[in-house]
């Protein structure tokens, strides 16, 4: 978590300085990528392993999904990474290929005295009502009726959201829009929205920090932060009606139940997946690469790296609290890369 705090501004600086590094160089010595902060820990672990085994240098700058999209469109980096998939029209226009690389989850974290991790149950519409400011107290009947036996205080709910634009927020608000018509017509979905209530923390670490510091608060962060900071979280009701805790199993069951084979260019947001044990706030990071790269050597090296990541790196991902792509999806991605990137 701390490395993220340091890595972010540093990466932005590096991105500014080395924007042209991937462009002119002849050899594949320096593959550059930029984008999603969500995928940074696992990508850098893969890059280190890959280099140890004699692979090319992969230099990834976690400047945020929006920045990654902009840079790969401008061809200043060899690949971009985004938590919000681009649609096929956008991809066709900018001649980009897109494929998922790793899966993770977004978790509602809470700081309410005495409630153990996973003991509080929330439904999607209820989560939307809390974030819309319609449910204001922890002992609101809407919460207590689905949580018999949980001692809920009569205090205000302090809502924490992201203050910066982020793919995590996109997936979170996309889910709220799916399950709550009021949210869809109100704040809607986006990498940042007009939050009706609450305070904003910068980055996952900012939200985690606020939730820990503010009593009776609720926030949402990526799963890795929940594990590393031992935060208390709520279980969520999925579309099959079951209450599911975030875990590698529930993320993979969401990934398996999602209908990838019909999603063109993998343009699929996995939230609210149909499986019986699927965790409803499961998210994916996508890699963007030009179909006709300017620098062929670098592009080939990047593809070799991603093939390595899909084949051998997925176990490493599990150790860092990400979830490997299900095997059929990984094969589908490998075929897509071969067919689409020259």
């Amino acid at each position: 978590m701390n490395r993220m705090v340091i890595a972010l501004p540093l990466a932005t600086l590096l991105a500014a300085c080395s924007g042209n590094a991937g462009n002119g160089s002849e050899s594949a010595a320096g593959v550059t990528g930029a984008g999603s902060t969500f995928v940074y820990p696992v990508l850098s672990a893969w890059a280190a392993d890959y280099k140890k085994q004699g692979g090319a240098d992969i230099n990834y700058q976690s400047i945020g999904s929006g920045g990654g999209i902009a840079q790969v469109k401008a061809a200043t980096v060899d690949f971009g990474a985004t938590d919000q998939p681009l649609d096929s029209a956008d991809l066709a226009q900018s001649k980009l290929a897109q494929f998922p690389i790793v899966i993770g989850g977004i978790v509602p974290v809470i700081n309410v005295g005495g409630i153990a991790p996973g003991k509080l149950r929330l439904t999607g519409p209820l989560l939307a009502d809390i974030y819309a400011g319609r449910v204001k107290k922890w002992n609101d009947p809407a919460i207590t009726t689905i949580n018999p036996g949980v001692a809920l205080p009569a205090t205000d709910i302090a809502v924490v959201h992201r203050s910066d634009g982020s793919g995590t927020t996109f997936n979170f608000t996309h889910y709220l829009s799916q399950v709550s018509p009021g949210w869809k017509s109100g704040p809607g979905e986006g990498k940042t929205v007009k939050w009706p209530v609450g305070v904003g923390g910068k980055g996952n670490e900012g939200v985690a920090g606020y939730v820990k510091q503010i009593a009776n608060s609720i926030g949402y962060v990526e799963y890795a932060y929940v594990v590393q900071n031992r935060m208390s979280f709520a279980s969520l009701q999925n579309s099959a009606g079951n209450f599911v805790s975030p875990s590698a199993q529930s993320f993979s069951s969401a990934a398996e139940s999602a209908d990838w084979s019909h999603a063109r260019d993998f343009n699929l947001v996995m939230t609210n997946a149909p499986g019986a044990n699927a965790y409803p706030l499961t998210a994916t990071t996508f890699i963007l690469m030009p179909k006709q790269p300017v620098n062929k050597a670098n592009s080939d090296a990047a593809i070799a790296f991603f093939r390595y990541a899909l084949a051998k790196g997925q176990a490493e991902a599990g150790k860092l609290d990400y979830v490997p792509l299900p095997a059929p999806l990984a094969q589908q991605v490998a075929a897509y890369i071969g067919a689409n990137i020259k």
């Binding site: 205090t155 910068k202 510091q213 503010i214």
Partner: protein
């Protein structure tokens, strides 16, 4: 002998080259001064140019609009402007009396042996990076405010007449009051260090005369030291204000970064600098990015207005005092 020679040299041989050197010196200093103006003008122009799309789209509404709705592409700067001004005002309310107290104590009251260590401690405070203040604010000070200060404020002052709305709301510890206090602590060393230098510069005969006339210590401070150093002290305060207006990291940590307009000081808000720091990396539409640059331009304008008011105030005080004395 040497002196005579030197005088001779100046009078005859070196006069011409001396005049040329003088002119060169004049040019160099003028260029340095112009460079600052150029830099200032360039910065202002490039920000205005970068923000032109926002100004064209929203016009004057950009400054008066409360909404900051990214998906709907509606941007208004009122909340960040308000948050910036309020937190800076709280910071000055706290920092000015404390800093002047520190400076007076150090120059006139403290035992001589203790002045050095305290002065060094103040300068060390000024050297602490702002992110450290931010983290301290979030991990130590905000929970303290939430547990001890804010419940008391909202219980005792929350229902009071006039000032009540300022102190109502849930005590979450993150908000304008906390941010203002942290900012206040951050600017104290700047104001105190300058004020100490200024107070040290008050000529001893002035103070000694006051003592001879039988003045108390308080009378010396209020009738001699403060009036003598008035303009320099106001300068020091505005140095601190400048820092408070533009402070980013510390404010981002404790202000709450929420685009909500609220009268209550206990509620989260946003500041111009914090909004830019939070949102610039993911500002992926032209209008969004332009609105953030326009915010930067407004910070520039706000600072300019505040400084102008300060200069005018100073001018008026000087004129009034000139008339009465």
């Amino acid at each position: 002998m040497n002196a005579t020679l030197a005088r001779e040299a100046v009078r005859t041989g070196n006069r011409k080259s001396g005049a040329a050197a003088d002119r060169l010196f004049h040019l160099i200093t003028a260029a340095a001064a112009c460079f600052v103006l150029l830099l200032l003008g360039g910065a202002a122009l490039s920000m205005a140019w970068g923000g032109r799309l926002a100004f064209e789209t929203f016009g004057a509404r950009f400054v008066t609009n409360v909404d900051w709705d990214v998906p709907a592409s509606q941007f208004g700067a009122l909340v960040p402007i308000y948050g910036t001004l309020v937190t800076s005002a709280i910071a000055l309310i706290i920092a000015v009396p404390v800093s002047i107290g520190i400076a007076l104590f150090l120059t006139d009251i403290a035992p001589r042996w203790s002045r050095g260590p305290i002065a060094i401690a103040i300068e060390l405070l000024a050297a602490i990076p702002s992110i450290i203040y931010g983290m301290w604010g979030l991990f130590v000070f905000a929970p303290f405010m939430a547990r001890h200060v804010e419940p008391w404020l909202s219980n005792h002052l929350g229902n009071a007449a006039i000032i009540g709305p300022l102190f109502s709301g849930p005590p979450i510890g993150i908000g304008m009051l906390t941010a203002g206090i942290v900012l206040g602590i951050m600017v104290i060393p700047f104001i105190a260090a300058v004020a100490r230098e200024v107070f040290n510069a008050v000529p001893a005969p002035l103070k000694e005369s006051a003592v001879a006339l039988g003045s108390t210590r308080w009378e010396i401070l209020s009738r001699v030291t403060l009036p003598y150093t008035r303009s320099a002290i106001i300068g020091a305060i505005f140095l601190g204000l400048g820092r408070a207006l533009g402070e980013t990291m510390a404010v981002t940590f404790v202000l709450g970064n929420a685009h909500d307009l609220s009268a209550s000081l206990l509620m989260p808000s946003n500041s111009i600098a914090a909004a830019i720091a939070n949102e610039f990396t993911e500002a992926d539409t032209d209008l969004y990015r332009s609105s953030l640059i326009a915010l930067a331009f407004l910070l520039f304008v706000v600072t300019l207005i505040v400084l102008t008011i300060a200069k005018l105030l100073l001018l008026r005080i000087n004129r009034q005092l000139g008339r009465t004395s």
